[in-house]
């Protein structure tokens, strides 16, 4: 008995020690960032390995927020929230509509369109970068958020797939009952499918939030006015090692920039894990 207990402890240690070690490695960059954001600026690179500030300088968050440019991070965060809100709403709503067509309506050409839709997931954005830029320039969309937001309203293939997988699992009996009552497609979609597919709508909403919050390439190309910078671009612009001196302040802002991501993760963890699992498995 005693032996069995010892064996169990050894086995548990054999698991927990490597697992904890890996946790430390995985989380270290983030802890380092937070620690550096609280250090006196001159200490950031002189006590680089220390994760405990000699004294906690909350002021970094104030100086970082004010930033060295003409605008404060209040502008950049507001811009990011605006972009994120519209991109997420547009992506989720349009993708759900498109997914419904594939899930329930037996229209002609469905198979071909679905193959093309999945094919666009494999298409590298780089191929579209330049022609889209030229196109949006002729539209007069440079230095607006339209090139970033409008394409999201045309459905995001990954979200279509995610919602489609979910909708396939919703029993058809409910639709049939509604058909007996003479209800049309739109009614069946809005009244039956949308309420039932809330989990997959939330999952795509979370991914939409992450992607548009962290989006870098599109604003880099289309936004050149500092007044319109989202947080990602502002951070990049202020991270030049040749001009940046207030590193603690910059790290304070990088820390703030990931807080929304972490909060959304904590709140919606369940949906996210499920979403990752279902799309990965049925792909």
């Amino acid at each position: 008995m005693q032996y069995a207990g010892k064996y169990k402890t050894v086995k548990a240690l054999g698991f927990h020690i490597p697992a904890l070690l890996l946790s430390v490695i995985m989380i270290y960059p983030l802890v380092w960032m937070i620690a550096s954001s609280l250090k006196p600026n001159e200490e950031v690179f002189t006590t680089v390995t220390s994760l405990i500030p000699s004294r906690v300088v909350w002021d970094n968050y104030v100086t970082g927020w004010q930033s060295t440019g003409r605008y404060t991070y209040a502008t950049y965060f507001a811009n990011s929230f605006r972009i994120t809100l519209w991109c997420t709403l547009g992506g989720v709503a349009s993708s759900s509509l498109v997914a419904y067509a594939f899930a329930r309506i037996p229209f002609a050409g469905k198979k071909i369109w679905f193959a093309i839709l999945m094919g666009t997931m494999l298409l590298p954005v780089q191929v579209l970068l330049i022609p889209q830029y030229i196109m949006f320039k002729t539209f007069g969309w440079i230095n607006t958020y339209l090139p970033i937001i409008i394409p999201q309203f045309c459905g995001v293939p990954f979200f279509v797939f995610l919602n489609l997988q979910f909708m396939r699992g919703v029993p058809k009996e409910l639709d049939e009952a509604a058909e007996m009552d003479g209800c049309g497609w739109l009614y069946k979609y809005l009244r039956i499918m949308v309420p039932l597919s809330v989990p997959s709508l939330i999952t795509s909403g979370i991914f939409g939030f992450y992607w548009s919050w962290q989006e870098f390439l599109q604003p880099l190309i289309y936004i050149s006015k500092p007044k319109l910078y989202p947080v990602s671009i502002a951070l990049k612009m202020f991270s030049d090692p040749n001009t940046q001196t207030n590193w603690a302040g910059l790290f304070a802002m990088t820390t703030l920039s990931i807080i929304p991501v972490v909060v959304v993760f904590m709140v919606f963890q369940r949906y996210l894990v499920e979403g990752v699992a279902t799309t990965g498995l049925k792909g």
Partner: protein, 305 residues
């Protein structure tokens, strides 16, 4: 008699039309987007690939000159080589890490949920500018990595990992590996779906741990591995922002990933025709590899009958 069949045929056609109308109405957002934001730009890009265009004035037709020039462009070849190196080191390494950790996290221990969350968080923040900035400071000459090495060895170490052509690419590969969490989650749920009876049967046949992995777990996971492999390869070929923020393609073009090279040609040097030609080369490379992986799947991916 004919009147009746005509009526039936007509009502059938009408119903079919209604279904098609409804289908295309729901499909419309994507279809419009596909035409306006994907198809038209694709054709335009193909045309631009055969032109010289500096974004001012109008494109000038130069035939296949862009593609011919590529052969003489040293940076192009270097970039292709670096990108292959990046993809073929990063993707297997990250998959192996994801699978290995997933196997460990599906054993029966306390605190599994905690570890799963901790390992997944880096993937969430994966592409963010914040992480790229942190990474560039961690691996710089005065970064924390050198600080730790100095502390352990006792002598001052100030090698710039991202500032040296020999190691810069590896610091980007390591950043990619740091994001093994999302593949790991997919593997975890894949492993959990393998029926316990398979393992019981294997144990009865006297299979050890390795044999259980080799003959039960691995075959059952091949569809998941396949999916992760395809997405991993495609995403790695497209990798861009890390290289732009951390090293800006340097030092000495040692991290000039292909996607970054396209961006630079197009938006830094305004050689838009050349950049389009390059982007088609990228498309062909990705297409070739995807096809290759898809074809190979017949030989190693097991789908349950």
């Amino acid at each position: 008699m004919t009147a009746v069949t005509n009526d039936i045929a007509r009502s059938y056609r009408r119903k079919k039309l209604r279904i098609n109308l409804a289908g295309y109405a729901f499909l419309a957002p994507w279809l419009i987007g596909f035409i306006v934001f994907t198809s038209v730009p694709m054709f335009y890009s193909l045309y631009l690939a055969f032109t010289k265009y500096d974004s001012l004035g109008s494109p000038e037709w130069i035939g296949a000159a862009n593609f011919v020039n590529m052969f003489q462009d040293g940076v192009f070849w270097k970039s292709v080589g670096i990108t292959f190196k990046y993809v073929f080191i990063l993707v297997p390494l990250r998959l192996a890490a994801a699978l290995g950790v997933a196997l460990i996290l599906t054993t029966n221990h306390k605190g599994i949920g905690f570890y799963r969350t901790v390992y997944y968080i880096p993937s969430l923040l994966g592409g963010s500018v914040a992480i790229a900035i942190i990474w560039s400071r961690l691996w710089g000459s005065d970064g924390a990595v050198n600080g730790l090495i100095s502390a352990v060895t006792g002598s001052v170490f100030s090698y710039s990992w991202i500032g040296n052509p020999g190691t810069a690419l590896y610091s980007l590969i390591l950043l990619g590996c740091w994001h093994f969490g999302s593949s790991m989650l997919i593997f975890v749920s894949g492993i959990k779906q393998i029926p316990a009876s398979y393992y019981e049967a294997a144990v009865l046949d006297g299979a050890g741990a390795w044999q259980r992995f080799r003959y039960v777990t691995f075959p059952a996971l091949t569809p998941v591995i396949f999916f992760n492999l395809v997405m991993g390869i495609i995403n790695a070929f497209k990798a861009f922002s890390e290289a732009l923020i951390i090293t800006d393609g340097g030092p000495m073009d040692s991290t000039m990933l292909f996607a970054l090279y396209i961006y630079k040609q197009g938006f830094t040097y305004f050689k838009m025709g050349y950049a389009c030609a390059l982007s088609w080369v990228l498309l062909i490379i990705i297409g070739t590899f995807s096809t290759f992986v898809f074809r190979s799947s017949n030989y190693w991916v097991y789908y349950e009958a």
